[in-house]
Amino acid sequence: MSTKSVQISDAAPDPIADDLIGAGQEGTLLDQVRGYFSRVRQGEMGVLPAVGGMVVLAILFTILNPLFITERNFANLMTQSATLVMLAMALVFVILLGEIDLSAGTTYGVAMCAFVVLVSVVHVNWILALLAAFAIGLAVGAFIGFFVARVGIPSFVVTLGLFLGFQGLELIIIGNGGSYAVQVPQILAIMNSNLPIWGGWVLLAVMVAITIGTGFWDRARRKRAGVPNRAQALLWAKVGVIVVLGGLAVFFLSQNRGAVSDIRGVPIVVPIVLFILWIGTFVLDRTKFGRYMYAVGGNAEAARRAGVKVIAIRWIAFIICSTLAVVSGIFSIGQVGSVDATSGRDIVLSGVAAAVVGGVSLFGGRGRLIHAAIGAVVISMITNGLGLLNLPAGANYLVTGGVLILAASVDAISRLRSGGSLFSRS
């Protein structure tokens, strides 16, 4: 922070009470913006590179093929990216601890194989089958957590073992070469049906209401504690961005995009993803569990000495990851419409790549769910955009790999410039 940004100007909403040390909250809107850019220059780039990449890709693909920016492709992109977004968000919970879950994809594969066999062969009620799928996710997470947190085996090894083993398990459950159609309309609807038009606007209204609500809640509590608040204009700027971007998206999705029949509305998967994103972010930012995730990821020994139950935190993180991976699996089978023995086999590394592209550190302790989500959208855009250009499949992997390394370099170099070492853990 520069000294300037802690100076009090007339427009500051609350002057610094008594003799408090600044918290970067003080000053006018302009001071805040300046503070933000000085933090960016210090290497706290956050979501900036990924958002920048997203914009560049969107412009590039639109120039190369105007079909990219159509209503239909926009909606396609949302459903195509949903599975990866969900898996990348699941992975954030273990990556924040500096751990990895290479089996997240095959975990959902096993859970989905079990689900589809239970529904189609055993004829179990689909809700019970779904609960069984979640129970599998939970059990796998607990299993990994036990070996990593209690026994002390590196998560890379434990989950690599499961990654290999679960491919076998999928084969055993489904049978070699077998494939089952998903016969549950509710699951198919998640990816193939849309909210009514008004539903999209209600969704936007709820998001705006939550933003304003938490914004004022925070302000009220800071005021009660006697510490200064940010300029209120900042909150309204945030609301403005949500209204404009969200409004455009909902408007766009409210146009007919069907070739033969009339298709319009926000895909059902969108509110589900937004809800999980919001809950997860709330927990990570505002609860002890969330804070301890960051603390353990930053310096596990310091966290332990401060009284944090490090083993429990690790354990829970793996359980959350595997359980959220099952949600990703549900999206995946809803989109594909069938399950075979390769379900979830190829996606996990894309999930890790998405998190890194979005700005989540594999060393642990740094990153947010929104980062992983945006990273996943960027990677999905590459697949989608190159697909529209009819390039050979090889191009997709090459470009994705290049973007991953580019993103990691941008991050590392920005940190280097700000005085950290290339291998700094912070």
Binding site: M1, L20, R221, K223, Y294, A295, N299, A306, G365
Partner: protein
């Protein structure tokens, strides 16, 4: 007067690792509102002595009287609950968290299960101000962006926030430059002025003579000297540390 009663009194403390005897019946007194320096050559047993006080490595025998009661320090949580805080040389801060988050790590203020950031921010500010910290610009700075002296400051302030009665500092100035050493030493004095008993380990005798009220010298696991700083000299202390001089207990 209560002022003269030690907050902490160790009597005949012994500790051995297998055949290696590290502490051979150590006596130590630490007074509230005073800075006691613990000095001694490498391997004299200083770290072993404070690990026992922190509860991480219990003594084999001997008595520990804290605040008038005999206590058995067998785990860190017990030591912390009595009001004993150790600021380790590696500081144990989370680089990826900011000052407020580090200060309150493990004891966050919540209302209704969610953080009350305002309250934590205010308390952090107040504690730093009570220690006359002027070098920290924002309490929301990430610890990774702080200098060595500022990090030491945060670690010490955390002990103050916990309302520790006894703060033990293991070589707090070892890695610091001149100006930052000065800052930290001032902080140590400020801590004692607040009535806290401070036990500071240091290899730097110049620092010891600047802040300490008492100096206790360990030599090969024995407490060979225990003097008010005003009644001794630099050369004497060097002598006690190297074993070339013996301290006449009768004089004390």
């Amino acid at each position: 007067m209560a002022e003269d009663a030690p907050l902490l009194e160790l009597t005949d403390v012994k500790k051995a690792f297998g055949p290696v005897t590290v502490l051979r019946g150590v006596h130590l007194s630490v007074y509230p509102g005073k800075v006691t320096a613990l000095v001694g050559d490498n391997g004299a047993g200083k770290s072993t002595l404070i690990k026992g006080l922190a509860g991480v490595q219990p003594y084999d025998s001997g008595t520990v009287v804290f605040n008038g009661h005999e206590v058995n320090l067998t785990n860190p949580r017990h030591a912390a609950s009595l009001g004993i805080e150790v600021v380790y040389q590696d500081l144990a801060l989370c680089d990826n968290l900011d000052i407020v988050q580090n200060m309150f790590l493990g004891r966050e203020e919540t209302s209704g299960g969610f953080f009350d950031e305002g309250v934590m921010e205010r308390r952090t500010s107040e504690v730093l101000r009570s220690l006359s910290v002027r070098t920290v610009e924002s309490v929301r700075q990430k610890v990774s962006s702080l200098s060595g002296g500022q990090r030491q400051t945060v670690a010490i302030a955390r002990a103050v926030l916990k309302e520790a009665k006894l703060v033990i500092l293991d070589e707090p100035t070892a890695a610091l430059g001149v100006a930052q050493t000065e800052q930290v030493l001032n902080l140590v004095k400020r801590l004692a002025e607040q009535g806290v008993a401070v036990l500071i380990i240091s290899h730097n005798l110049a620092d010891v003579f600047k802040v300490a009220d008492f100096v206790s010298v360990l030599y090969l696991g024995e407490m060979v000297a225990d003097v008010p700083i005003a009644e001794t000299s630099y050369d004497d202390v060097v002598g006690y540390i190297t074993g070339s001089k013996t301290y006449e207990r009768a004089r004390a």
